[in-house]
Every structure is written in structure tokens, then in C-alpha cells.
């Protein structure tokens, strides 16, 4: 029996449900592996894919979105050992799986908690309902690479937004492997897009892009860069989530603020007669 030829894996980007190499053809060496180095053009392609996915994803029923997020947890559970082999601590993988389940449960409950009937002084039904903002750019925390990424992506998509996420530049393997999980979880292509490479290269493009509706700066560690990105985001009044403090505990109960920060409230007045 001859020795098997090694099957070496290429870690690529995740855009529109596909795994393309960077349009620039570049890669960088990290975690002893070659990983695609996303360019500004890749970031723009990802925004186009995310925008195209908005009507289908925002239009899906909350129940259906919850099922799909739960499916992500199922798939992640099945690949638990793979993540451990990539160097992700086992308790972090478990926490990431639990986080998908936790957010999956919120899909059809958040509108009840965050929306509802408003008392008004007139013969009207007055109802407020939370609606997704649209395309959200996300900078995932540098670490924990897996739990951090899940903790910023899941709350954005559970309500019907689509995401372009910049993965942790120093530990992108978990992010690319998570993309493989997402691609096999019935999540429509383009709902989550993951870029690997330098934050300074891709994120300013996203912050300045007028077709991005919100930006989550959680993983930005450089205060000057964060300021520049906020200035860019102001051009079309994107919703902005500020960088997380360095000592943020990602294992703690996340609360609902990450979900509610990326919503618009639609209020409907309806006459009720007499």
C-alpha cells in the first residue's frame, strides 16, 4: 500500500455563497497556512453579494431564519473536532455552538420584545415592528477567533440583515472553516460574506461604501482607525457600533443590544373606527 499524497487545503474567501480566491490573486502566510488576502475589490464584490441577498433573507419568515441558525449550530456541532484541531479551545467551540442556538431562539421573539402596540390618544391601532437595517459590515474581534466572529455575525443576521465580515487577521482559519459550516446550513448565499486579510485594507472600503447600512467596529483595536471609519460611515449615516473594550468577556451572556442596534423601527397607524 503506497503512502497517500497529502491533500492540502486552500483557505479562501466566502462571497455570495462561493469560495473564491482573492480577485487580486494575493495570499498571506498565517497560522502556518496560506490564506487569501482580500482586496478592496473583494470587499466591494462582497457588498454586492450581500445587497443581492437582502430581499430574500429579510423577507424570509422569522421562524425560517431561526431554523437556519439552529441548523448552523447542528453543523458546527458535527465539526467540533475540526475546530479543536485548528487550535480553537474546546470550551470556545461549545460556547460558539450555544451562541447560535441562543440567537436562533430570538428570531421570532425579538419582534415581540422590541415591538408591539403603542398606546395613542386617538382612534387608531398603532403598531411598531422592528425591521432589519440592510447590509451590515462587521469587524470581528481579534480573539477569540471563532466565538468572537459568531457573536458579531449571528445577532446581525438573525433579524434579517446580511453581513460582510472581516475575520480576525491573525487567526482566520476558524473563520474560513465557519464559512464551510454556513455554506452547508441552508443559509442563502450572500447572507454572510467573510473576508480574510488586513483590516486596514478592506474595512475602510466598507465604511465609505454608500450601499452599506451599518458598520460594527467591534474588532477595531486602533483608535485612530476607528475614528476614520466612523467619519467614513457618517457619509450616509450608517449605524455604527463602537469598538469593544479590550477586556470584553465574550463568554458572558450577550444580551439583546447587538440585535437591537441593527434594526429600524417601522410604525404603522391604522384607524379603528369610532
Amino acid at each position: 500500500m503506497s503512502e497517500r499524497v497529502a491533500v492540502r487545503k486552500t483557505y479562501k474567501l466566502f462571497i455570495g455563497g462561493k469560495f473564491p480566491r482573492s480577485e487580486s490573486g494575493r495570499s498571506y502566510l498565517v497560522q502556518d497556512t496560506n490564506v487569501s488576502l482580500a482586496s478592496r475589490k473583494d470587499a466591494r464584490d462582497a457588498v454586492v453579494a450581500a445587497r443581492a441577498a437582502v430581499p430574500g433573507w429579510a423577507g424570509a419568515t422569522a421562524y425560517n431564519r431561526g431554523q437556519i441558525l439552529y441548523r448552523v449550530a447542528e453543523m458546527l456541532e458535527g465539526r467540533r473536532e475540526q475546530f479543536v484541531a485548528l487550535g480553537v479551545p474546546a470550551d470556545e467551540v461549545d460556547a460558539a455552538i450555544d451562541r447560535w442556538v441562543w440567537y436562533a431562539g430570538w428570531s421570532d421573539k425579538l419582534p415581540q420584545v422590541y415591538g408591539g402596540a403603542n398606546p395613542v390618544a386617538g382612534p387608531y391601532f398603532n403598531l411598531s415592528a422592528p425591521e432589519p437595517t440592510g447590509v451590515v459590515a462587521v469587524v470581528a474581534p481579534q480573539s477569540p477567533a471563532l466565538l468572537g466572529l459568531v457573536s458579531v455575525v449571528a445577532p446581525a443576521i438573525v433579524t434579517g440583515n446580511t453581513v460582510v465580515a472581516a475575520a480576525s487577521p491573525s487567526a482566520p482559519l476558524a473563520a474560513v472553516t465557519l464559512a464551510e459550516v454556513l455554506a452547508t446550513s441552508d443559509l442563502p448565499g450572500g447572507v454572510v460574506n467573510i473576508l480574510t486579510g488586513r483590516i486596514t485594507e478592506t474595512v475602510p472600503t466598507l465604511a465609505n461604501h454608500l450601499d452599506v447600512n451599518a458598520i460594527d467596529l467591534t474588532g477595531v483595536t486602533d483608535a485612530d482607525l476607528a475614528t476614520d471609519l466612523e467619519v467614513g460611515a457618517a457619509q450616509n449615516l450608517k449605524r455604527v457600533l463602537r469598538p469593544a473594550p479590550a477586556d470584553h468577556d465574550w463568554f458572558a451572556d450577550p444580551g439583546i443590544t447587538r440585535m437591537t442596534a441593527l434594526l429600524e423601527t417601522k410604525t404603522v397607524w391604522h384607524p379603528k373606527g369610532t
Binding site: R44, V47, R51, N208, H209, L210, D211, Q235
Partner: protein, 319 residues
């Protein structure tokens, strides 16, 4: 040299008089190397056009757009809005050029004419029982005359594909001649509907036939069949207009239409024009894009170049 050129010219003008001569000529045209044409078109599509060259290409492409709406649901209000957009595609930037023409159904021509009068934007109307071309000749000619009387200065006619594919070339030829006559001063664009012609050889024959019959432009498609303009088909047509000018001295324009949606596509076409027929055709008088959604993408890329910021489709009008 002069003698042969002159005799070639006179020969070509005689061709339309007999079915046999026309058939012999069209079938005597060299066959198209399909693999070669597709490879050449693909290769020209890989050119990288950036920065100032891109800015120039985008402005040229905007000037070449035939802003088109050919829907059963067109209303006078909608075509007027489209005409207003043609005059000033980017209201936020007065330096943005106007488009080449507006292209509508004959019934909509009067509404567009009001808006475009005196602006330099041409007014094209489809005619001759567009898109099928399956109507009696008198009706097609009446259609054409009505459009011209209503104010169209360009007529987009469809050839009779049924007759062409059946090999009745003089019938197709005579219809084009009659339509050209009905056009008067208006420019005549001849739509070959290449998606229905099946082979590149047929595209080459139809191109020559349309030019011999007096067409001022040859146009790929109606946009109403699944296969519209492609790069190789346009390449074959560009070669035909180049060879036709070499043989007769008359320059004919080319208009790919349908399926051209992005700036990238448009620039590929411009590169091909420059490499195949040269800069003489890089002008809205000789090359046009039949398109509707292309304009918004051109405007988006133009905005990116002038402001450095990527706008989204939300920032431009829908039609």
C-alpha cells in the same frame, strides 16, 4: 487598383437586383472561424482599463447609450421621465454627458419628442412590427412612416428572419430598401436578431445583406429573445463593417443591444471596437449600446471615480 476598387463598388450595388447574384455573393463570404472569434473576443475582454482611461471610456460609453424602454407597460409619464434622464443622466453632476439617444415604441415617440427637442439627444423608435417582424410589408412601412412623422430621427427595424433563414435573401434585401426609403432623412438601424440566426456565418451574411441594402447601422438584437448581444457576435459584425468600408467606402455603425449591464462589459466592447475597426468608430455616431440598466452602472462607476466613494444602486433612478 482604382479600377478594381471602382468595379467592386459597382458590382456590390448591382447585387440586390438578382436573387442568384445575392446568394452567390453572401455564400461566397469567407466562413467565420468560431473558435477563433470566441477566443479573440475573450482575449480582448481581459484588457485592464483603469484611472483616466477608464474615466474617458465611461464618458464615451454614456454618450453611446441608446436609453431604451420597450415594454408593453410603457406609459407617457414613464418615457418622459426616461427622456429627462437621457438629457441629464446624473443630476448631481452637470459635467456628466447626455446619452446618445432614447429608444421607444412608435406610440411613445411624440411624448419623448417634446422633451428632447433641440437637445442633441437623438430619438430612436423601433418599427416594422418589432420584435418579430412578422407582418405584411405595407404595415411595416406604415409603422416606419408613422414613427418618422411623430418625430423619430432614427428607426430600429427588424429584418425578416423567417425569410432570411429560408434563404429568400432578396425579399429581406428589398424590405430593408423599402424601409430605408420610408425613413426619409431618419437613420436606419437594422436589427439582425443574432440570437435567432444560429451561426456566425449567418451573422456575417445578414450584416452584409443589411449594409448592401443601405442600412446606416447594424444592430445585434431586439432584447426580446434569450440570447442577446455577445462579444463574439459583435466582433463578427465589426469585421463586416470594416470590410464593407474597405470595399465600398461607406461607413456603417454597429449597435450591440441587450444583456450589456455593467461598465466592465461596456469597456470590453469599446476595447474590441478600437482593436477591430479602429478609433473611427469610437464615436456615438458609429457605435451605440442598446441598454437600460447599463446607464446606472456607468453612473455608479463614474461617481466612484469622481468622488472616491462607492455609491449603491439606491442613489440612482430606477428607469
Amino acid at each position: 487598383m482604382t479600377a478594381t476598387a471602382t468595379s467592386a463598388r459597382s458590382d456590390l450595388s448591382e447585387l440586390g437586383r438578382s436573387e442568384t447574384a445575392l446568394r452567390t455573393f453572401l455564400h461566397g463570404l469567407p466562413g467565420v472561424d468560431q473558435v477563433g472569434a470566441e477566443q479573440r473576443a475573450a482575449q480582448l475582454g481581459t484588457r485592464s482599463i483603469k484611472t483616466t482611461a477608464k474615466a474617458q471610456a465611461i464618458d464615451l460609453a454614456i454618450r453611446m447609450v441608446d436609453l431604451t424602454t420597450l415594454e408593453g407597460a410603457d406609459t407617457p409619464g414613464k418615457v418622459r421621465a426616461l427622456a429627462a434622464k437621457a438629457l441629464r443622466p446624473d443630476p448631481a453632476d452637470p459635467s456628466c454627458p447626455h446619452v446618445g439617444a432614447v429608444c421607444v415604441y412608435p406610440a411613445m415617440v411624440p411624448h419623448v419628442a417634446e422633451v428632447l427637442r433641440g437637445s442633441g439627444v437623438h430619438l430612436a423608435s423601433v418599427a416594422t412590427a418589432f420584435p418579430s417582424g412578422q407582418a405584411p410589408l405595407e404595415i411595416k412601412l406604415a409603422d416606419t412612416r408613422a414613427a418618422v412623422e411623430a418625430g423619430a430621427d432614427e428607426i430600429d427595424m427588424v429584418i425578416n428572419r423567417g425569410a432570411f433563414l429560408a434563404g429568400r435573401y432578396s425579399e429581406v434585401h428589398d424590405e430593408i430598401v423599402a424601409t430605408k426609403d420610408a425613413c426619409g432623412d431618419a437613420h436606419l438601424k437594422v436589427i439582425l436578431e443574432t440570437g435567432e440566426l444560429a451561426t456566425y456565418d449567418n451573422v456575417r451574411r445578414a450584416s452584409w445583406l443589411a449594409m448592401l441594402a443601405g442600412g446606416d447601422f447594424i444592430k445585434t438584437s431586439t432584447g426580446k429573445v434569450p440570447v442577446a448581444a455577445t462579444l463574439p457576435v459583435t466582433l463578427v459584425m465589426l469585421e463586416a463593417v470594416r470590410d464593407f468600408r474597405a470595399a465600398t467606402g461607406r461607413q456603417v455603425g454597429v449597435k450591440p443591444a441587450g444583456g450589456i449591464k455593467t461598465t466592465k462589459d461596456a469597456i470590453k466592447y469599446l476595447v474590441m471596437v478600437n482593436e477591430t475597426v479602429g478609433a473611427d468608430w469610437l464615436d456615438p455616431d458609429w457605435f451605440r449600446f442598446g441598454a437600460s440598466s447599463l446607464l446606472n452602472d456607468l453612473l455608479m462607476q463614474r461617481t466612484k471615480l469622481t468622488t472616491g466613494v462607492y455609491p449603491g444602486p439606491d442613489y440612482f433612478t430606477l428607469d
